[in-house]
Subunit: 256 residues, 2 copies
C-alpha cells in the first residue's frame, strides 16, 4: 500500500539529492490521483521513520511541495494534499468590477479592509498622481474574496483632492468616485510576477514564496487626469488574465 515511503527507494537512490526523490514521488502520486485533495500525509516524523531519512530531509522535500502549492501544512494539525483551486479567467481589456465579475460567475464577492487613511505621499505616488510634497494621498488597502477564498490584495492611492475621505468608500471605490463625477474611463496596467512576501502570503492563505501576479494600474478621467494608482497582488494559482492580440504591421514577417 504505502510503497510511497518504502525505505528501499531511498537507501540506493538514483542520481540527485534524496529530498528531491521524495518530493517527486509524492508529487507524482498526487498527480496520479493516488492522494486525493484534502487527504492527509503521515506526520513528518513518521515519514522520516518509514523512508529512513532524517526529519530535516523529509521537511525539505515537503516544503518544496508546499511552496509550489501541492501540499498544505497546518501547525499542530498535519500535512494535507492541497484542495483544487478553481482558476478564474479575467479579461484584460476591460475595466470591470470585481463584484460584478464574481456575480456573473455565481460567486459571492467580499472585501476585508486592511487600512484606510490619508497620508503624506510617497515619492512614487507623487510621480504617478502628480502631487507635491504638500499634498496628501488617500490610501485604501483591502483583500478581495470570492466565496470566502482570498484572491487578491488591492492597494489604491488617490489624491486627497479626488477622495478627501477614504472612509466614505463602501464596497465599491468606483461607485464612490462616480457619485462625485470622477469615474475613470481608461486605465493602463503593468503585469509582472513576484514571489509573495510573508505578509501577502498570509493574507492570501498560500505558502510564503508562492508565485503571484503583481498588477499596477493607473486610471484616468476623460480629461486625462489621473484618478487612482493601484498596486494589486493576485494569487498566481487562482487567476488567469486573458488578452486578445492583433497582428502588428510587420512587412518582413518577423516574429515573437
Amino acid at each position: 500500500m504505502d510503497a510511497l515511503f518504502a525505505a528501499a527507494a531511498f537507501t540506493a537512490p538514483g542520481p540527485g539529492p534524496l529530498y528531491l526523490h521524495l518530493s517527486r514521488r509524492i508529487s507524482e502520486r498526487i498527480a496520479a490521483g493516488g492522494l486525493a485533495p484534502g487527504s492527509s500525509l503521515p506526520p513528518e516524523r513518521e515519514m522520516a521513520a518509514l523512508t529512513g531519512l532524517s526529519r530535516v530531509t523529509v521537511r525539505k522535500a515537503v516544503q518544496a511541495l508546499v511552496q509550489s502549492g501541492q501540499l498544505v501544512q497546518r501547525r499542530g494539525s498535519g500535512t494535507f494534499v492541497a484542495p483544487k483551486v478553481e482558476r478564474l479567467e479575467q479579461a484584460l481589456s476591460l475595466l470591470t468590477s470585481f463584484s460584478e465579475d464574481m456575480a456573473r460567475r455565481g460567486k459571492a464577492a467580499r472585501s476585508v479592509w486592511l487600512a484606510r487613511g490619508v497620508h503624506a505621499p510617497a515619492p512614487e505616488e507623487m510621480m504617478v498622481l502628480g502631487l507635491t510634497a504638500q499634498d496628501h494621498v488617500a490610501r485604501l488597502e483591502r483583500v478581495r474574496l470570492a466565496d470566502e477564498v482570498p484572491l487578491a490584495i488591492e492597494r489604491a492611492a488617490l489624491s486627497s483632492a479626488i477622495l478627501p475621505d477614504p472612509m466614505v468608500v463602501g464596497a465599491s471605490l468606483y461607485a464612490t468616485l462616480a457619485e462625485r463625477g470622477l469615474r475613470p474611463v481608461r486605465a493602463v496596467q503593468r503585469i509582472s510576477a513576484t514571489n509573495l512576501t510573508s505578509r501577502d502570503a498570509g493574507l492570501l492563505e498560500v505558502a510564503v514564496g508562492a508565485a503571484g501576479l503583481r498588477i499596477e494600474r493607473v486610471s484616468y478621467l476623460p480629461s486625462g487626469r489621473v484618478v487612482e494608482f493601484t498596486r494589486s497582488i493576485y494569487r498566481g494559482d487562482a487567476y488567469d488574465f486573458a488578452a486578445e492580440l492583433q497582428i502588428a504591421a510587420e512587412p518582413q514577417g518577423k516574429r515573437t
Copy 2:
C-alpha cells in the same frame, strides 16, 4: 563596520524566528545600498560564526533571499548580491516579434533551440489544435535571450499539416509560416503566475521556485483556423506586460 552580523543582534532577538531576523537585516542593507550589486557576502560558515547562529539557520536566511532574487549563490565560489535586472516592458495588445522588440530597444536577440521534432499529439494539443490521435504535431522549444540574458522559454506546438518540418524554422517561426501563407493575424493569450521548476529555473538562470509568468497563446489565421499553440515562461523579475483597459458598460458604477 560589519554590524550587519553582530552577534548581539541575535542573542537577544525580538519576536520571530532568528533566520527571519537575519534575512531582513541583509535585505534592508541591500535596499539601503550598503551592499552593492555584485559584491560578495562572507562565506556561510563565517556568517554563522559572526552571528553566533548555526550554519543551517544562516542558510535558511540566505535561501529566502536567493529565492526572492536578491542574492545569488555559486557553488565553490560564494554568495553575491544579485545584479540589477533591467525590466522590459511589452505591450500585450500587439502580436509583435521578439527580435524586433529587442532591436527597438537596442538589444541583441538570440534563441537557443532546446528541441525540435514531430510527435504524436498530447491530449491538450489535440483539443486546442483540433487534431485526432492519428495526426502529428511539430514541437519547437527554445530559450529567448536579449543581450545574452535569458528572458523566456517558448514551447510551441503546430499541426504537422501546417508545419511538416520544424527544422526549416530559422530565427523566426512567423517568417517561416508567412512563406507558406500561414501567418496568424490574431491570438488569444492567458497569463498566470507560477513558481519555476528546477529545469525552467536553470534555463532562465534564476533560483528554483522564483516567480515566472506563464503565458499560453493560441493564434489564428484570418479564416479562423488555429495555427499555433504556444506555452511560454517569462522571467518575473525581467518582464512587465503592459495593457490598456477601457471602461465596460456599467450603468450602476460598480467597480474593481
